[in-house]
Subunit: 141 residues, 2 copies
DNA sequence: TGGTCGACGATAACGATTCTCGTTATCGTC
DNA sequence: GACGATAACGAGAATCGTTATCGTCGACCA
C-alpha cells in the first residue's frame, strides 16, 4: 500500500474524514523528496492550479504529525518543515548556514547511540531530531 | 575567569560596548542552570526589579550566539532558548511532550557518533543539536 | 569637558502559525 | 438516492515570538 492510501486510512481510523484538501497535501508530500514548509506546500499547490487554503495545509500537517505519518523538522530558521514518514527513509539533516542548503544523511551508529540514550533516559521517547549546522563544501573556505 | 567576565571581554574585543543591560542578561544566564527563552529572561529581570528592555535581551542573545558564548536551543515549540556555553557542560535535551519538562543529558558515545558523521559529511560543522521527545517517567503510564 | 558613536528602551512592524466562522463535503442511516 | 449530523474546507482576522526603528542616554577617547 502506498503512503498516501496508508495515511488516509490511518486518518479515517482516527475519526477524521479526509477530503480534497487532505488528498492534495498528502499527494504533494508523497511526491517531494525532502522536507517542505507549510507555505512552501501551499505555494506549490497554488502554482499547480489546485486551490487549497493555507489553514488546511497547517491542519493536515498537524494531524499527520500527531499520528506519526510525517516527520517534523525544525532547522531553527523559524519555519517548521515536514516530510512523509516512511520507516525505510529515517534520516537527519545537515544545514549550510551560508547558502541555506539542506541535505539528508543517515547513520546507523548514530541511531544506535540515540537508542541507547533513549533506553537509559526513563522517558518513553517517540521521536528524535538531529541537526548539524555548518558550511557546506562549496561555502567553506 | 568567570563566564560573565569572559563574555564581556569577548564582546568588547568584538567592538561592542556592553553596558548595564548586557551585564544583567549575562549575570542572569550565568545564574540559570538550564535553557531560557528571551521573554522568560525579560520577565525574570523585570520581576527582580531591574529594568531591561525586551529588545536588549534579544540583542544580547543574538550577539552571544554569534560569538558562540551561548548555546541556542530550539525545542520546536516556537520559542528559542539559550544557555551559557561553557566547554565543560556540553549536553543535549529530553523534552516531555505532556508536561513540557526539559532535562539535559550528555552521552560520550552519541558525541563520538556525531563527530564521525561530521567528518564524513564534507561540511565544516560548527554546531549540532539533538532533541529527544517523548513522555517523562511521571507522564508515561 | 566635549564630541562621537554605540547601547539602551519603547514601540511599531513583521511573519509564521493558529483561530474563527460561514460554507461545503462526507458518511451513516433511512 | 435523500436526509441530517458533523467534520472539512477556505478566507481572513488574531496571536505571539521576534526583529526593526528611532529618539535618548551613557561610555569611551581626545
Amino acid at each position: 500500500m502506498d503512503w498516501v492510501s496508508h495515511a488516509q486510512a490511518e486518518l479515517r481510523g482516527a475519526g477524521y474524514r479526509p477530503g480534497a484538501a487532505a488528498r492534495l497535501v498528502l499527494e504533494h508530500l508523497d511526491r517531494e523528496d525532502c522536507c517542505r514548509g507549510a507555505q512552501e506546500i501551499f505555494d506549490a499547490l497554488s502554482t499547480g492550479g489546485t486551490k487549497v487554503g493555507l489553514a488546511s495545509v497547517y491542519r493536515m500537517l498537524e494531524r499527520l504529525d500527531e499520528r506519526g505519518l510525517v516527520q517534523r523538522i525544525d532547522l531553527g530558521d523559524g519555519i517548521v518543515r515536514y516530510e512523509a514518514a516512511r520507516d525505510a527513509g529515517h534520516h537527519h539533516h545537515l544545514v549550510c548556514g551560508a547558502c541555506g542548503k539542506v541535505e539528508p544523511f543517515a547513520d546507523r551508529r548514530l541511531e544506535r547511540a540515540i537508542e541507547a540514550v533513549e533506553e537509559r533516559s526513563g522517558y518513553s521517547v517517540v521521536a528524535h531530531d538531529v541537526v548539524l549546522r555548518g558550511a557546506c563544501a562549496n561555502c567553506r573556505d
